[in-house]
Symmetry: C2
Subunit: 387 residues, 2 copies
């Protein structure tokens, strides 16, 4: 990707002239998130090709920018939502409410009622209490029961916050029917930035066990939600999307045979991650004992929350690339000591990187602008510039 120098109005250019280093020390109007909706479209096409017959429900939480949602609608995609605000954003982008999947397993009761009133029909649950809540707040709705997974193999793993066992899922779907709900099926999530396609095998097999058990009871489950977890191009190798598709297809065939339900997936990062770059400027470079510290004008509080514990490692390009590099600690601009991006495993950046140089965190379109604070320490929320 070409390194660009943003103009004062925070509009990135791609002219050859823009590739030179800054000639003035005044900082450009960084930071901002540069999003290319054409990449969103491309990724949706690649996902559709890798996962034939599986409907794509983009996880709105990854990046809810209206133009991203519009690109998803234009590409024939659908949505995974978790709040009435996200429901309304999808409807505004042109989505049909009864195609949305409300994937938050533990919901505010008023949010269930509000979303049902907006036309949402499919809600994820993972406990008897939540089934009762949905039955009361959205009578007659369809429910997916979420199974617990290990999260092994993912960079941004799970915490056992959601999901139940196979036995509990069977009971929950039976309860749903007893309460007048449509026991639609099963969902799960293998953990975000999942590098191991085989992570889908065990939960697909578990889902098939649930389907079989409730079919034996006379229920008619019809929907399997494979969740998200498909990766973006962060640091380190990832398998091609086709490898995920091959494993999923193989496991669906093994587990469901001729009785395969309608199947959907909820990628977020894989759709919008590679579509964005977080464009920052170097505020200062300081030698501290054994470490060179590079301070950027964006950090943990302006969107880079996923660098906590150095979980997600962005690929980095700078306007000073080309010469020798060395290790450095990367930090954000606020006074907060927690505002450090990479320290345990330093990044390697040009030795002559200096104040005013541009540092681009690539594939940062997901979980950045939406994670930004309201303006901690007087640093504005991360703006989004859509190209």
């Amino acid at each position: 990707m070409t390194i660009t120098e943003p103009a004062a109005a925070a509009v990135a250019t791609t002219s050859p002239e823009a590739m030179s280093r800054p000639t003035v020390m005044a900082l450009p109007s960084t930071p901002f998130l540069e999003v290319e909706t054409s990449v969103v479209t491309d990724r949706l096409g690649e996902l559709a090709a890798a996962l034939p017959g599986i409907a794509i429900h983009y996880a709105v939480k990854a990046n809810p920018h209206p133009q991203v949602l519009a690109a998803v609608v234009a590409a024939g995609g659908n949505f995974d939502v978790a709040s009435p605000t996200e429901v309304r954003a999808c409807l505004a982008a042109g989505a049909a409410p009864d195609d949305l999947v409300y994937s938050n397993p533990v919901k505010r009761r008023d949010h269930v009622a509000e979303s049902a009133a907006l036309g949402v029909r499919i809600f994820v649950v993972d406990s008897p209490a939540e089934v009762r809540k949905v039955a009361e707040a959205a009578p007659g709705a369809a429910v997916l029961c979420r199974l617990v997974t290990s999260g092994d193999g993912s960079d941004w793993p799970l915490s056992r916050k959601y999901g139940c066992s196979v036995g509990q899922a069977v009971d929950i779907l039976r309860l749903a029917v007893a309460l007048g709900l449509d026991a639609a099926g099963v969902s799960f999530h293998v953990g975000s930035q999942q590098r191991d396609p085989n992570a889908w095998r065990s939960p697909i097999a578990a889902a098939a066990t649930v389907f079989e058990a409730v079919r034996a009871d006379g229920l008619s489950p019809w929907l399997l939600d494979l969740g998200g977890g498909f990766p973006a191009r962060h640091e380190g190798d990832i398998p091609p999307l086709a490898a995920y598709g091959a494993v999923i297809e193989d496991q669906l065939r093994q587990s469901f045979g001729e009785h395969r339900p309608r199947t959907i997936a909820e990628p977020g990062r894989a759709v919008v991650g590679d579509a964005g770059a977080l464009v920052t400027s170097v505020v200062g470079v300081v030698e501290r004992g054994d470490n060179r510290w590079v301070y950027l004008d964006a950090g943990v509080f302006t969107g880079l929350v996923e660098t906590l514990d150095e979980a997600i490692r962005y690929r980095i390009e700078t306007s000073a690339d080309g010469g020798p590099t060395g290790p450095c600690v990367l930090a954000g601009p606020t006074c907060d000591s927690a505002d450090v991006l990479y320290q345990v495993t330093p990044v390697h950046l040009p030795l002559d990187l200096a104040e005013g140089d541009i540092v681009r965190l690539e594939s940062a379109g997901a979980y950045t602008s939406c994670y930004s604070t309201v303006g901690f320490n007087g640093f504005d929320p991360l703006p989004v510039v859509v190209g």
Copy 2:
């Protein structure tokens, strides 16, 4: 503190009727941060009493709400700022610009110039490059050189992100004078929620060594900044403020003797932490294997960032208090698996806590509303209700 049921408009009441548990299942308009400015005033009085002769510069980053800043001005307090936005907020509250201390050691050059134009005169630095930046962007300004500390003893520790050695500080102050700046003195920070008053001893002694060395060169340093770190009433015992004052007074006497400089401190959490309560509702309670999970309508992405790694543990009161309690995991409302507050060390909450009950995180006035995201997952930023 009295447990209150907020009315629909998110205005907390303190009427006795409000102490009963909700009679309807519809959730009140939680979450919100309830701030009592009278507590801000009280804490400033206690700090002044504990630290006689030491000017209090409230760290705006802890909570920049205009009414909090106004309470600080009314109590005769001053400010520690880190960005032009914070400078303007203080000026709007009635502060004099030349009393502000700009404590961010690594600053955007345009922020230095903008703040100087607004009348700010004192800037913290910790490297030769930053001294040159200040000399160019704010000619003739005063600089404090920040010393590194260990952060040992604090709950929200430092990362060696800022601060230099005694020897470097001496060189930096000499450079400042050579560049036409006022070499005002030394600053440091012992780490936030610092439970050990003795943490101030070593850096005060180090500061005195710097003062002595540069005085021998003919410089006239006049300002010592003791930073923040004074605690709020989170879980666990903390020494009384008087214990901090006694240690600091003793060490100032030992280290500076008759040549004590003007001395300031920059408390944030100690001023506003106890003034706020984060009022949330229970969204759901789910038994998961060995754990009871309680889901609140506020979490990591609506202000509770300091629960990451369970660093800051808030005292908790609920509208169901009184009966037997048991351990539970506490989680936030978003779909994100990272949105878990306390899991490694569970909290103990009433066994009959249920959907719709109120859970108050006490002493949550600092680093909450300002840490809130712009609305991740469609959950609004944390509103502040000032009483």
